[in-house]
């Protein structure tokens, strides 16, 4: 209870608003004073001044006003409370003055207190208004008094004691007001003091920050300069001085032109101009160190503009020397990596080509083209060693010049007089460059633009199988590193070529094996078939012989004996020829160069009897080429063909056999022919005639081995045999044999 009354009667505190708090405190003091004086009046008047009792009607209504005032303060309506208070007190004083003595009443003097309260609690202008109001009120009372409207005004109700009492109240309130005014002044002074120290702190901060900024600029890794309007350094930080190896003090007063390389003057001039126009500029420039070295720098200049006037600039300088160096190194590294990539790529392509191409004649041109195209070389050529002739023979080469040299059969001896020869003999790569004191002049008329060359040996499984020449129109196109890389690649090429060679050999072997196998199959087949025939005949007719003897049919007996004898002979012949056939290829006389003319001569000598019997005319072409082979076998070939021709003359009245050659092909094989004008062979039998025992005419002599034997001999020599005949007008047998190499 007591607490809540106390709270109700105390001034509220306004946080963060000292002025309002103060005003509330002042207001509550005045309200207390008013309350106190009202209470004093209420108590003292009935005792000491009963004549003033009519005033009680005026005093009593003060209490609700005072309670309202406390309430307003309590709900923090300070300004409203102030107004109510000042206005209320003024009204009370005015009315009481009007009722008791007018302007002479002590209540009228109380206006001073009201005016002061207004000044302290509300503001100065409010005080003026109340002063005017009080003056006007006084004047009104004087006029009203003289006119007789204010009957009480002239009544001297006050006693000296009551006057004293009132004045005591005025003194008290006056002291309170003075206290308040003093407090207000102190408060204002306090505020001024606070503001002052705040500003001082701020100034201190700014100075500290400035010092810190300078310290930062000095410690900064990047160079910082301050340039004046005259483009001279006013300040340089230590980083900048260090960057160009100067004492910072020596730089003050110098201009950028003193440290920039003359080549970069235009750039610097342009930057200065831009700054004068108020623009920030960034440019690169090379600076001279005091030691003479050059520093690459990136300079950003920000103009200092004060009051619209150019006052110089602040520049930030970054040292790009290391960066430039790294850039250059990266550039070189990148170029190296690109080259290496290219080499790897080419190597991969070459490997792919190598693994996908099993044929040397496809692989080698592809390889040289790939290498030349990828590295943009002038010419690439590939030589393979020809072991028999101790030569390195050009096998693939790029471009038209390559075609020319390939057509000319370009080959180099395996000695140190050519780069290719040298590198094959030494198993090492070799470079020739048209630069320096060992400059090499290249003289090949087909390759006029060559200025440098590298020759790389093709080494596979430790053997040099050839060499590759790579030529460039640049004078120094090859470095040691290139050669290491190219050599690695060329080794793959060498392996690929060797693989292709082995594969080709293998393919040939497989083919040969297959044909052997087929032949063997055919052989067993025919042996079982054709050897059975005479056996069946023999055993059958031997049995008949007994029947013949028993029946006494001597004529038939004789015939049957003949059949048996013939079958035996046939069997004998078959066995001989089979043996002969199996010997071909297995037993070969040494290969030698023989003029084909002499082979024909010998063969015709052996069949002269048959030819003469049938009156066959033989024409042999002259100057037949020299062939490489087994002469004994080759004679058998011609002998068989000539014999066959004579055998199948039919009813030709002018039998003729021609023997000749039809030239040497690009594969080094010469083609020969044996032509007759006999019965001919129908096209559907052209394959069958070369089969074992496949006789078209059972009635004709022979075992059917002849043409199979011929075919076998030709094939053992690597050649081919075929027949051309329309079925009438004779047939021509063609066969190819290796010609003697020129």
């Amino acid at each position: 209870m007591f607490q809540s009354i106390r709270r109700f009667l105390s001034a509220p505190v306004f946080e963060n608003n000292t002025e309002e708090t103060l005003r509330a405190r002042h207001l509550i003091i005045i309200i207390h004073a008013v309350f106190l004086s009202t209470l004093t009046y209420t108590i003292l008047i009935p005792i000491f001044a009963p004549q003033l009792m009519p005033h009680m009607g005026l005093i009593i209504p003060m209490y609700p006003v005072i309670v309202t005032l406390y309430w307003l303060v309590h709900i923090r309506k300070i300004r409203a409370a102030s107004w109510v208070m000042v206005t209320g007190v003024w009204l009370v004083l005015f009315i009481s003055a009007a009722l008791s003595g007018g302007t002479q009443a002590p209540a009228f003097a109380g206006n001073v207190i009201v005016i002061l309260s207004a000044a302290v609690l509300i503001d100065y202008s409010c005080a003026v208004w109340f002063a005017v109001l009080s003056a006007a009120g006084g004047l009104l009372m004087i006029l009203g008094e003289s006119a007789g409207y204010l009957p009480y005004a002239s009544q001297q109700l006050n006693t000296p004691f009551s006057n004293w009492l009132v004045e005591i109240i005025y003194f008290t309130v006056g002291i309170a007001l003075v206290y308040m005014a003093t407090e207000n002044i102190r408060f204002a002074l306090q505020r001024a003091q606070n503001e002052l120290s705040r500003r001082q702190q701020m100034e201190l901060n700014i100075k500290e920050q400035g010092d810190f900024a300078i310290q930062v600029m000095n410690e900064l890794g990047q160079g910082v300069t301050v340039i004046g309007r005259d483009a001279k350094y006013q300040y340089v930080n230590s980083a900048f001085a260090r960057m160009i190896d100067y004492d910072p003090l020596h730089l003050i007063g110098k201009s950028p032109y003193d440290i920039v390389l003359p080549d970069d003057y235009p750039v610097v001039g342009q930057a200065l101009n831009e700054r004068r126009q108020g623009k920030t500029s960034t440019h690169e420039a090379r600076l001279k160190k005091s030691t003479g070295e050059v520093v690459h720098a990136l300079i950003t200049g920000v103009p200092r503009i004060q009051n619209g006037k150019y006052e110089g600039a602040i520049t930030v300088i970054t040292d790009l020397t290391r960066q430039k160096q790294i850039e250059n190194e990266q550039g070189e590294l990148l170029a190296k990596m690109n080259l290496r990539n290219l080499q790897l790529f080419t190597a991969a392509e070459v490997s792919r080509a190598a693994s996908s191409m099993l044929d040397l004649d496809t692989l080698m041109p592809k390889v040289v083209e790939l290498i030349r195209d990828h590295f943009n070389y002038y010419y690439v050529g590939l030589f393979l060693v020809d072991g028999e002739q101790d030569l390195a023979v050009l096998r693939a080469a790029t471009g038209d010049m390559g075609i020319k040299m390939l057509e000319a059969g370009h080959a180099l001896e395996l000695n140190e007089f050519s780069m290719i020869g040298w590198c094959i003999v030494h198993k090492e790569p070799r470079i020739a460059l048209d630069v320096g004191k060992d400059a090499v002049r290249f003289k090949n008329p087909i390759l006029p633009l060559t200025r440098s060359e590298v020759a790389l040996p093709l080494i596979s499984r430790g053997n040099v199988i050839g060499a590759m020449t790579i030529q460039s129109s640049e004078p120094a196109a090859f470095s040691g590193e290139d050669i290491t890389n190219l050599q690695t690649m060329v080794e793959q090429v060498a392996n690929a070529i060797e693989n292709a060679r082995l594969l080709t050999e293998r393919a040939i072997l497989i083919k040969e094996l297959e044909s052997r196998n087929l032949e063997l199959e055919r052989f067993t087949y025919t042996v079982s078939h054709d050897l059975r025939s005479p056996l069946i005949t023999m055993r059958g007719f031997v049995s008949f012989l007994m029947e013949d003897a028993a029946s006494g049919d001597m004529e038939r007996l004789q015939k049957d004996v003949n059949r048996i004898v013939n079958a035996t002979e046939k069997m004998q012949q078959l066995l001989n020829e089979l043996l002969e056939l199996s010997r071909v290829g297995r037993v070969m006389n040494p290969t030698q160069d023989v003029p084909f003319g002499s082979i024909v001569e010998e063969a015709l000598e052996r069949v002269r009897g048959q030819l003469e019997n049938r009156r066959v005319k033989v024409i042999v072409q002259e100057n037949l080429p020299i062939v490489r082979g087994d002469p004994t076998r080759l004679i058998e070939v011609v002998q068989n063909l000539a014999d066959n021709a004579a055998k199948f003359m039919g009813d030709q009245s002018q039998p003729l056999v021609e023997i000749g050659g039809s030239g040497i092909g690009s594969d080094g094989y010469a083609t020969f022919f044996v032509r007759d004008n006999g019965v001919g062979i129908e096209p559907k039998f052209h394959e069958r005639i070369f089969g074992l025992f496949d006789k078209l005419d059972t009635q004709s002599a022979g075992t059917g081995v002849g043409l199979a034997l011929v075919k076998r001999i030709i094939e053992v020599h690597g050649g081919k045999i075929w027949v051309e005949s329309a079925g009438k007008g004779g047939s021509t047998f063609y066969f190819s044999l290796p010609a003697k190499t020129a």
Binding site: H529, R532, T537, G540, K695, Q699
Partner: protein
């Protein structure tokens, strides 16, 4: 047998073998008549009544054909194929009689609808027995189609 004269066509290039076959067959009176051809072409000419074989009266179709496989001019298999592709001839039984035991030959003969495949035995007794059985089977037991 129904009294009608039985005709056997023998296509065989080996004259000795042909003689063996004919003598054995005739000894057993199996066939009334045997016509022997030494190559495939002539045999086909007969069957198709071409050229000198144009008259049907003197060149009746055979009741059975004995065919060797390896023949000059037209190969035995080719002859077989031609016969079996021809409506008027395909019902004639064709017995392949050859020296070849090769599986390939057997397979191809049956592929072209050979009715039987016989290999000539090496020994005469077996040969004789085979011919006998052949005669009894194809010309005796076997019911011939009406040609």
């Amino acid at each position: 047998m129904n009294g009608e004269p039985v005709l056997v066509m023998l296509i065989e290039d080996n004259l000795d073998h042909a003689e063996l076959v004919m003598r054995t067959l005739q000894d057993h009176r199996i066939a009334n008549r045997i016509r022997h051809f030494t190559d495939g072409q002539t045999a086909l000419d007969y069957l198709f009544r071409r050229g000198e074989f144009a008259l049907p009266e003197s060149n009746p179709l055979p009741h059975v054909i004995l065919l060797d496989l390896r023949l000059p001019r037209v190969d035995g298999l080719e002859v077989l194929k031609t016969i079996k592709e021809e409506d008027t001839l395909k019902s004639i039984p064709v017995v392949v009689l050859t020296t070849s035991e090769a599986e390939k030959d057997v397979a191809r003969a049956y592929y072209y609808h050979a009715n039987s495949y016989l290999v000539k035995p090496l020994g005469y007794e077996e040969f004789r027995k085979l011919m006998e059985d052949l005669g009894f089977y194809w010309l005796g037991w076997n019911i011939q189609p009406q040609i």
